[in-house]
Symmetry: C2
Subunit: 419 residues, 2 copies
C-alpha cells in the first residue's frame, strides 16, 4: 500500500469534518435534506456551461478507448438525468429514524432498535461523472456524509459537479463537509481512504472488477461491493419452453454489460434436445456467440467448444456459456463452484424443484421464473441504488437507502438497575 503523509493528513481532516457534518445531518429534518437535493439539482442545471467546459477539458486530455470516452462524456440529456436523479431521491421515503423493532422486557425496560445513518461513506468510482452526484444524493438523503474519489480522467468534471452540489448544501444551510471530493488525482488518496479505519465507516467502490478487487484487497475499512456478476439461468426439465426461451433471451441480451446479465445457461439433459436448439436460435438471431460443453455440441454441433475457464468468465458481452446437466443438485454444484454469489435463476413449473433450488443457491438474489436482469435496486422498488453487494456482512443484493443505514438501540426505563 502506498503511504503518503500529505494524503493521510488531508484525509484525516476531511473525515473528521465529515463526521461532524454527518452528526448535524443525522438530526436534520427530512424536509431540509429534500430541499438540499432539489437545490443541488437546480445548481447542476444552472451550472451546465461550467460543467460542460470542465468535461471538455477532461475529454481533451483523454486518450483511452471510445467506449470509455462515451462514459466520460456529458451532454444536456445526461446532465438533466443527473439532476432528475437527485429530485427523484428527494421524493423517496426517509430511511432515517425508522423503528425497526420494539419490545418491552419483563422488568419494564422498553427497547427500540432504530435506523440511523452509517456516518461517513467513501465512494471510489471510475470515470462516469454521474456516479458522484448519484452517490452524494443517496448518502445525503440517508443522513450520511460522503467523500468522493472519482477516476482521474474525470477530475475536472467531478470538481465542477461538486461545486454545484456544494452550492445546494449552502442554499439549504447544511454543512458543506457533507459532500467532499478528494483534492487530487494522486492514488495516495485512495490508499488513505482505504486505510481510514474508524474515520470512514464504509467504502463503496463503483467500477470494473479490477477496481473493486483492488479496493477489497487493500481496505481496512468495511467495503460493500460486488467484483463480478457471474449469473446463471438454469432451465429445469419441467420448464415451460416458451417461458424459458423468453427469459434466457432477456437475461442474456437485454443488456450484456450489466452485472445481472446471465453469463451461463445450465439446462437439464431431459429437456435439452427439445428446447436448447430453439434457445440458441433465438440468441443467434440477435448476434449472440456461445461456449458450449460437449453434450450441448452433440445436440448443436456448430457451437464453439467451452473450456473450463469459460465457465468462470463474466463475459459482459454477447457470449453465453452453455452446459447440459442433470437436476437441481448438479445445477447448484455448478453454481457454487463457478458462480459469484450474485444472482441465479431457475426456470421450472415444478414448485418443489424451485423451492429446492431457491433454498440451496447461496447468492444475494435467487429467482424463480424471471430474468436475472431484475437484480437492480429500481426493479426491487428501492427507487435508486448505489450498487449491488455480494459480500455477506451488512447487506446483500441491491444497496438502496435502507442499506446505507445502521441501527442503534434506544432503551427507556423508570429507574431500573441491574440485579
Amino acid at each position: 500500500m502506498q503511504v503518503d503523509s500529505d494524503a493521510t493528513q488531508h484525509l484525516q481532516k476531511a473525515a473528521s469534518a465529515a463526521r461532524d457534518a454527518a452528526r448535524a445531518l443525522a438530526k436534520s429534518p427530512e424536509s431540509q435534506r429534500n430541499a438540499a437535493l432539489c437545490a443541488m439539482a437546480k445548481h447542476l442545471r444552472d451550472d451546465a456551461e461550467k460543467i460542460f467546459a470542465a468535461n471538455a477539458t477532461d475529454l481533451a486530455a483523454f486518450t483511452g478507448s471510445n467506449a470509455f470516452r462515451d462514459r466520460l462524456a456529458l451532454n444536456p440529456a445526461r446532465l438533466d438525468a443527473m439532476a432528475k436523479g437527485l429530485e427523484d431521491i428527494s421524493s423517496l421515503p426517509d430511511p432515517i429514524a425508522r423503528i425497526l423493532s420494539e419490545w418491552t422486557r419483563p422488568n419494564g425496560l422498553r427497547i427500540r432498535r432504530v435506523a440511523q445513518p452509517l456516518g461517513v461513506i467513501g465512494i471510489i468510482y471510475e470515470s462516469r461523472p454521474n456516479v458522484g452526484a448519484d452517490a452524494a444524493g443517496l448518502c445525503l438523503k440517508s443522513g450520511n456524509a460522503v467523500i468522493l474519489r472519482g477516476g482521474s480522467e474525470s477530475y475536472h468534471s467531478a470538481q465542477a459537479i461538486h461545486a454545484a452540489l456544494t452550492a445546494g448544501l449552502r442554499d439549504t444551510h447544511l454543512p458543506e463537509a457533507i459532500v467532499q471530493v478528494v483534492p487530487s488525482t494522486d492514488r495516495a488518496y485512495v490508499a488513505a481512504m482505504l486505510a481510514a479505519a474508524g474515520l470512514i465507516d464504509l467504502v463503496i467502490p463503483r467500477g470494473g472488477k479490477s477496481l473493486v478487487e483492488r479496493v477489497q484487497q487493500e481496505a481496512r475499512v468495511p467495503v460493500l461491493a460486488h467484483a463480478e456478476g457471474l449469473c446463471h439461468t438454469y432451465v429445469h426439465a419441467a420448464a415451460d419452453p416458451a417461458m424459458a426461451r423468453a427469459i434466457v433471451l432477456n437475461a442474456k441480451l437485454r443488456r450484456t454489460g450489466i452485472c445481472g446479465a446471465t453469463e451461463t445457461l445450465l439446462i437439464d439433459r431431459a429437456i435439452a434436445p427439445s428446447l436448447l436448439p430453439g434457445i440458441i436460435a433465438d440468441l443467434r438471431a440477435q448476434g449472440c456467440d456461445f461456449r458450449a460443453d460437449d453434450e450441448a455440441r452433440v445436440l448443436i454441433p456448430d457451437l464453439p467448444a467451452a473450456t473450463d475457464q469459460d465457465f468462470y468468465t463474466e463475459w459482459l458481452d454477447s457470449i453465453l456459456s452453455v452446459r447440459v446437466l442433470d437436476g437441481v443438485e448438479e445445477a447448484l454444484a455448478h453454481i457454487a463452484r463457478y458462480g459469484s454469489e450474485h444472482t441465479d435463476a431457475i426456470i421450472t413449473e415444478d414448485a418443489q424443484a424451485a423451492e429446492k433450488f431457491l433454498a440451496g443457491v447461496d447468492s444475494a438474489v435467487g429467482l424463480w421464473n424471471a430474468s436475472t436482469q431484475f437484480c437492480d435496486g429500481g426493479e426491487f422498488g428501492f427507487g435508486a441504488e448505489i450498487g449491488i453487494a455480494t459480500g455477506r456482512v451488512h447487506a446483500r443484493g441491491p444497496v438502496g437507502l435502507e442499506q446505507l443505514c445502521t441501527y442503534r438501540y434506544v432503551v427507556t426505563g423508570t429507574g431500573q438497575v441491574r440485579p
Copy 2:
C-alpha cells in the same frame, strides 16, 4: 503481518471444509441443530475428567497473574454452566429462514428478504475456555461454521472441549467441520485467519482492548467487536435524586469489569451541589475512588483531581471520572469527544431533555433512566450474546443469534422479463 505458508495453507483448507459444512448446516432442520447442541452438552459432561486433566496441564504451565489464572481454571460448576449454556441455546427460537420483509412489485414479482447464516465465522479469544463452547453453540444454532482460536495458555483445555463438541456433531450426523479449532498456538494462524478474505465471512474477537485493537488493525475480513466500553451516565438537572443515586451506584459498581460499566459521571451544574455529595458518599461507602474536575472538587474538596486523559480512560475498576457541566448539549459534546460509542445514559424526569439526548447520542445503546449495565444480550432478551459491537456496519450493540445472520433475496415470478 506475519506470513506463514503452513498456517495459510491449513487455514485455507479448514475454511473451505467449513464452507461446505456451513452449506449443509444451513439446510439442516432446527431439530437437528438443537439435538446437536444437547449432544454437545452431554459430551462436555461425560468428558469432564478429560477436560479437567487438559485444564490441569494448561494451569501447570501457566505463569501469569492470579486473575488470569482464575479465568483459565475450570471446575465442575463452570463445566456444568458451559453445558447448560448449550442447552439454553437449543431452546432459543431458530434465527434462520425468517422472512424479514416481503412485497410484490407492480409487474407481479414477489420479493422476499430472507434471513440466512453468515457462513464461516472465526472466533479469536483469550484464555477463558468457556468462550469456545459458547461461541460454537451460537454459531451452530444460527447455521454458521466456526473456526476457534483460543489463547495459547488454554490450548489443551480448548482441544479437550473441542473433542466433546465434535462428538456431539457426530452423534447427530452433522459434519465435524462445523466446529474447528486451529491446530497450533502459533500466532501465524491468527494472521492467516485475519487475512482470509472471502474464506472467512466474519471474525469476532473476544478479549481485552489490546487483542481487539490488534485484530481490528490487521483484519482484511469483516470484524464485529468493541475495543472499549467507555460508558457515561449523565445526571440531568431534572433528575429524580433518589433514582439518580441508585442508578449511578449500580452503573458503576454492580460489576466494574464489564464493558457496560459506567466509567464517567457527568452531572449538571444546577443539581450538582444538592446531589453530587450523596452520589459520591454512596460510591465511597462501597470503596469507589474518583477522578474529578475542578468544579466537582469545589463541591467535594477531597476528591482526587482528574487529568484530561482520565476522561479517556476505561477504568474497568472501582474508579469513577466525574465532570460537572451544563445541559444536554455539553453532555453530548463530552461523550462524542471522550466516549467509545458503546452505551450512554441520561437520568432525568424531563422527557424533552431525554429525547434530545437519545436523538443526539451516537452510541450503540442510549438509555434513559436505567443503568448502563443493562447493555447485554441476555438483558435485551436475546437469550445469549457472542459480544457487543460498537462498529457501524452490520450490527451494533449486543450481538445475538439474529446478528449472526445475513439475508438474501428470493424472487418468484411467472415468466417476467425486464423491459
